[in-house]
């Protein structure tokens, strides 16, 4: 096909759809080909030209896929530039510095693009290539005037200073690795101390070649073996403000030879093959996203042809393809096993299926090939209603935001409908072969994690219990009876080292019950809890359905006789239980003890925290200031501070 005919058909199609907004489903059907991508680019340009920047921005975000080619990715990056100042306000703005031994221009752009896809606007600083150590050691370098929130260090194995030589024994080789690790620890420490930033450190990528052949792994002085051991030592020694980004794994999963097309290293000092930079940047962006608390939380699964082959309602229990002994049935088992592993580490699972509930559940209860059980599913919806509505119901039942949802369904029409009607939800394209499901879901890195807390491991129980609570609330006569039936026990304590990680998570993930939406990195929060001018509290809650864990955090700053509430967040799972009233009473009590005269507080509106705009009014504080952005300031004198009656069903337990 010549270029001109392609051009004309695009023109014709676009003029037909001129009035319509971009229908993304159309572009993704059957994967993104070069020509469908050109159409999309053109349509996005048109949206921008006609001032529909919201729609254009959404199209750009959706078009960013982990498998996108380099050229398309760079073109999308350029389109972000075209949005200019009209671009919709993102969920977060951050500053990222890339300090590399390589030419980092393309990854800088690609990281910006991939963060944009996750609603994060990054201003990125790129140091000149090859000055990694100088950039960190020299306090007058560009890095220090830029002041990043996140520092990405991308060295190559050529940067390893302490490499063992042939003839060095095992002990000498281990000593060299220890010295090398100590060097990196010092660089991290210097950057962190001077900048207070979090560090993302690439692992070292082994070259594809092996001078010692198969002996590389076992030999104490081989390059490959040294790199492996060094990576593990760095991971073991990394302090909490450093995340190791496992570039070595990226390279291995791509294939070392394809990953490192050395022509481009020789020509332009690119870190890897140009195409590999796309996957690399996607991975980095997912890590930053996870650090910001914006990873997805809930996977909503279709059933027929998604968890098993065939249609349970038509084919019956014996007719569906699932289980060992049959190739496709095994592929569905493998997908379920992968999903189960996600659930085991804290991803919440839900089912959304067009089926009779009885049929759908029967497969879970009776089919021997099923890996997932009904216990694994926090919310199970099978009916003949619209999936878009059902997904909204699931979000309400679980008290999770739609923007933390991923919807996985083999049916292109359902995907398209959900994309259109619930645009907040991530909807990956699903390949036709179930053997590719795991790869597809995994490559998107929706559920990226930087740390795994005790709460993550019991999350399903917690959300299941929440769904039960909501059902109970529906069936209980009065709110009072409901609260009494919950048998709640709470524990409110200052944030200590044991609670700081989960507290930081809550501060960074809460959007709705969040009075000021001030985010704090783990290291910032650690500094706050050490600082005597700060008063911190966190609340644990258990009830008859289970342990809710740490569900609320309050940070207040003392300035003389004034105590200012800087941050107050609470998990929406425990709304309307009297927890916030109780925490306020605790705060007032503490303020009296400290000799505080006034408590001041403010509410900073966002698109998501309308829930708490009257929070301080309800507590009985006086409004002292407000402006037309909706921002309000409140205060009260401690001696006549209101102490609302917290739920008498909330029983305090000694810490």
């Amino acid at each position: 096909m010549g270029p001109s005919s392609r051009f004309e058909s695009t023109e014709r199609r676009m003029s037909r759809h001129k009035a319509a907004h971009i229908d993304l489903g159309e572009f993704f059907t059957g994967g993104l080909s070069t020509s469908s991508f050109r159409k999309l680019t053109k349509a996005i340009k048109e949206e921008i030209a006609e001032g529909r920047v919201e729609s254009a921005a959404r199209a750009i975000r959706t078009a960013v896929q982990p498998d996108l080619d380099l050229q398309s990715s760079l073109n999308l990056h350029r389109l972000i530039g075209r949005l200019g100042d009209a671009a919709p306000e993102p969920a977060r703005r951050i500053r990222v510095a890339v300090v590399s031994s390589y030419t980092a221009d393309p990854i800088t752009q690609l990281i910006e693009l991939n963060l944009f896809a996750r609603d994060v606007r990054a201003e990125v600083y790129r140091a000149d290539y090859g000055v990694l150590r100088q950039e960190i050691l020299d306090p007058s370098s560009g890095l220090y005037s830029f002041k990043p929130d996140y520092l990405l260090l991308t060295p190559s194995w050529r940067d390893i200073v302490h490499l063992p030589k042939p003839g060095d024994g095992g002990e000498r080789a281990r000593e060299l690795i220890r010295t090398e690790v100590a060097d990196w620890l010092r660089l991290w420490e210097i950057a962190h101390e001077r900048l207070g930033c979090e560090v993302i450190q690439d692992t070292f990528v082994q070259p594809a070649w092996r001078a010692l052949g198969n002996r590389e792994l076992q030999d104490p002085v081989s390059l490959g073996g040294t790199i492996r051991r060094l990576n593990i030592a760095l991971a073991d020694e990394a302090p909490s403000y450093v995340v190791l980004h496992d570039t070595e794994h990226l390279s291995a999963s791509t294939g070392h030879w394809s990953w490192s097309d050395t022509r481009f290293f020789h020509v332009a000092k690119l870190p890897c093959a140009p195409a590999s930079q796309v996957d690399y940047s996607h991975s980095i962006a997912s890590l930053v996203t996870a650090k910001l608390g914006l990873s997805k939380k809930c996977l909503v699964l279709d059933l027929d042809n998604t968890l098993w082959g065939g249609v349970i309602g038509d084919d019956g229990l014996e007719g569906i393809r699932l289980g060992q002994g049959e190739a496709e049935g095994e592929a569905f088992v493998a997908f379920q096993e992968y999903v189960k592993r996600l659930k085991d580490r804290g991803v919440v699972l839900a089912v959304c299926s067009a089926n009779d509930e009885k049929n759908a559940k029967e497969a879970f209860e009776k089919h021997p090939g099923m890996v997932l059980t009904l216990e694994d599913i926090s919310c199970f919806v099978a009916n003949w209603g619209s999936k878009a509505d059902n997904i909204r119901t699931i979000a309400e039942t679980l008290s999770l935001g739609l923007d933390s949802f991923v919807f996985f369904d083999d049916d292109a029409m359902q995907r398209s409908l959900v994309r259109r009607h619930v645009p907040e939800v991530e909807v990956p394209e699903v390949p036709s072969d179930p053997a590719d499901y795991v790869r597809t879901l995994d490559k998107h890195r929706y559920f990226q994690v930087v740390s795994i807390s005790a709460e993550d491991l019991v999350r399903t129980e917690s959300y299941k219990a929440n769904a039960k609570r909501i059902r109970l609330r529906e069936s209980t006569e009065t709110m009072d009876d409901f609260l009494a039936s919950l048998e709640m026990r709470e524990r409110t304590i200052p944030i200590g080292p044991m609670e700081v990680e989960r507290s930081a998570q809550l501060i960074n993930r809460s959007n709705q019950f969040n009075l000021t939406t001030r985010r704090r990195t783990l290291s910032e929060l650690k500094a706050i809890i050490e600082d005597e001018s700060w008063l911190t509290r966190c609340v644990f809650l258990t009830d008859r359905f289970g342990d809710n864990g740490l569900i609320s955090v309050l940070l207040a700053h003392r300035d003389g006789a004034v105590l200012e509430i800087d941050t107050w967040v609470m998990s929406c799972r425990v709304l309307r239980r009297g927890v916030e009233l109780h925490l306020w009473n605790c705060l007032v009590g503490e303020a009296r003890r400290m000799g505080i005269e006034r408590i001041v507080a403010e509410y900073l509106p966002t698109s998501k925290n309308g829930l708490v705009q009257d929070h301080y009014r309800k507590l009985g504080l006086d409004l002292v200031e407000s402006d037309d952005t909706g921002r309000t300031k409140w205060e009260c004198r401690v001696k006549d501070a209101p102490t609302p009656i917290a739920s008498h069903h909330l029983q305090s337990v000694a810490s």
Binding site: P3, R6, L70, T103, R263, H266, L270
Partner: protein, 84 residues
Amino acid sequence: MSDLLGTMQEILRDLFDDDELIVTRETTADDVGGWDSLAHINLIVALEDEFGVRFATAEISSLKDEGQNVGALLDLIERKLAKE
């Protein structure tokens, strides 16, 4: 316009985000805004994808050499295609 040149023009239009860009055999990197060494690598990648050929290191790096233009690049591709 030969098919090869036409495809080249399409790729360059994409690469430099310029739907009006006219490319001839005489066009050099200096004639096109933004055609620097990194853009050149992106062009090489796009050409390798499009034609299924592979450029050698020296061929990639000789962009700024005297006498380099789109025609020379096309001849190179044609020679590579003929060998297959």
